[in-house]
Symmetry: C2
Subunit: 351 residues, 2 copies
Amino acid sequence: MRLAEQAVFTAHPNPMVGCVLVRDGEVVGEGWHEVAGAAHAEINALQDAGDKAKGATAYVTLEPCAHHGKTPPCSTALIAAGVSEVVVACGDPHPMVDGKGLKALAAAGITVRSGLLQQQVEQLLAGFLSRVIRIRPRVRLKIACSIDGRIAMANGQSHWITGEEARADVQRLRASSGAIMTGIGTVLADDPSLTVRDAALNPHGKQPIRVILDSELRMPMAAKMLALPGNTLVFCQNDQNAPGLVDAGAEVVRIDGVNGQIDLDAVLQQLADREVNDLLVEAGPAIAGQLIEQKLVDEFVIYQAPHIMGSETMGMVATPGWIDLADRQNLQITDSVQIGSDTRITAIPAD
Amino acid sequence: MRLAEQAVFTAHPNPMVGCVLVRDGEVVGEGWHEVAGAAHAEINALQDAGDKAKGATAYVTLEPCAHHGKTPPCSTALIAAGVSEVVVACGDPHPMVDGKGLKALAAAGITVRSGLLQQQVEQLLAGFLSRVIRIRPRVRLKIACSIDGRIAMANGQSHWITGEEARADVQRLRASSGAIMTGIGTVLADDPSLTVRDAALNPHGKQPIRVILDSELRMPMAAKMLALPGNTLVFCQNDQNAPGLVDAGAEVVRIDGVNGQIDLDAVLQQLADREVNDLLVEAGPAIAGQLIEQKLVDEFVIYQAPHIMGSETMGMVATPGWIDLADRQNLQITDSVQIGSDTRITAIPAD
């Protein structure tokens, strides 16, 4: 798992995978998968072990692949190296694997076991598993707010609510995501970049897809992000202005509306089709509220600054349909940690 | 300090005081002051030590008294017992003491030292010191809110935002306070009791003063709290309805207005005159906002429930004058702890 996590910023859309080879109670090889196209974890571990792989047990976080993708199948390599046992945390639900890897190993006489630290690894691979199994990315909603839950003054002023360390942490969240989504309101108000700025977090120069929800396609051709490295994907209901925007560098996709709003289920499916494992939402109250009301948020990441911003402000979510206390969204807090002078609260929906 | 803290629910309006007598590196006596009228900490420790007090060092959290109050002066008793040294955390600023205790001890040939754990003890005695030095209580503002900072639905619904454990903790806050303040809006909406309900927190049956800010004296004579044990003190600007309310059991005090609002400085001074060390404010957004805007809150105690309540709700403070981000109230978080499924954040103003 620790080896796998080395690739948190680089592996996606591939899953993070780590492999350890053990012979006679001794680690003889370690490997992890860094980036799509490069060797898989098992291959790196076998290479690290050399002759010592023979008779070893391979611990792998995910079922070894059985297909020729950009690299040859790992199950074949494990068999060829003479590994005697393979222990995996969980199966790979990808249609190209989906049990075929374990089956090939077993057919070659290798002892195969599954389920070691399965829950922890499934958490580590939540984005990948969501995309493959549910055909939609894991959705993480990031909110930067004051202790009274406000994200901006009524006049829009919001720079900066949280501190430098929290903003650096958001960069790590971005770098671990395949796409970052916001609304046209945020684009028009702030003209954000939505990029990973620190090269250390982005060693291969690949930027998350910038996803803009823009029903009426009001996106300005001069929007800063259109000139930045990486792709900008604009979802709209009315694509009349598409040609100019495409010329300016955007990809425009028309999606039907549901109750006058862009169909968020369809958006998420489109992003899964583009191999986005993790979608980070950094949006205003309208989109945040819609996602929550439609039960589409998988994880909340709330950066809470030690300020009271007061009443002449904007709240974190617009939920016009929640009239009764029972309508509220219950959360289960999974982590709470001090980041600089702010508190980062991670939570999942509790109902 | 630990002995002193035994009296957190009972000593007020007196300060919590603890005393330890040590001779030849051995604790020979311990005492604390439980309740006004009962023996002071030093007397209890001397009694506990008996003959062994002779030649001992007395560690006392607060300067021993030098005056005949409800009990004889402790400095006299320490001298009579033959204590050889007295170490105090801090001086007692009360006009009846104010150095006279230490002076009497020194004049009797006892070695006197001061300042041991002074900061911690001053924190423990913050309410008492505030009342004596600043002639106003320490003001603690308690807020029960959701993670998005909301205290009620727009329709007023707010029972219960926080869990049972958090509400039990509020009972402890109440029991350690000399008065609990709210506004007439809360009285009219919720008809609260504002009492300490658990007898274990209130062994002497003394209820905090219930303080109601009620400019136009709209308090109903049938308000539940008027029939409960303890005193209800209603501050108003217009005391036309006072006679009926006084008949119903309230004390009514007219205070001049400042900008159309009851003068909060005058209210706090009145409470200090009534020997209130700690004032717990459990009020709606208007009073909370006024107290914060006027820099009258000494400590924030925020119980944050893991819910998102959304936009059709009431915020924790009304601050109509805060238009710019720079107007916000910065906090310094001094403690953050899980209470049941809620988080209790304690903070002080940071500017």
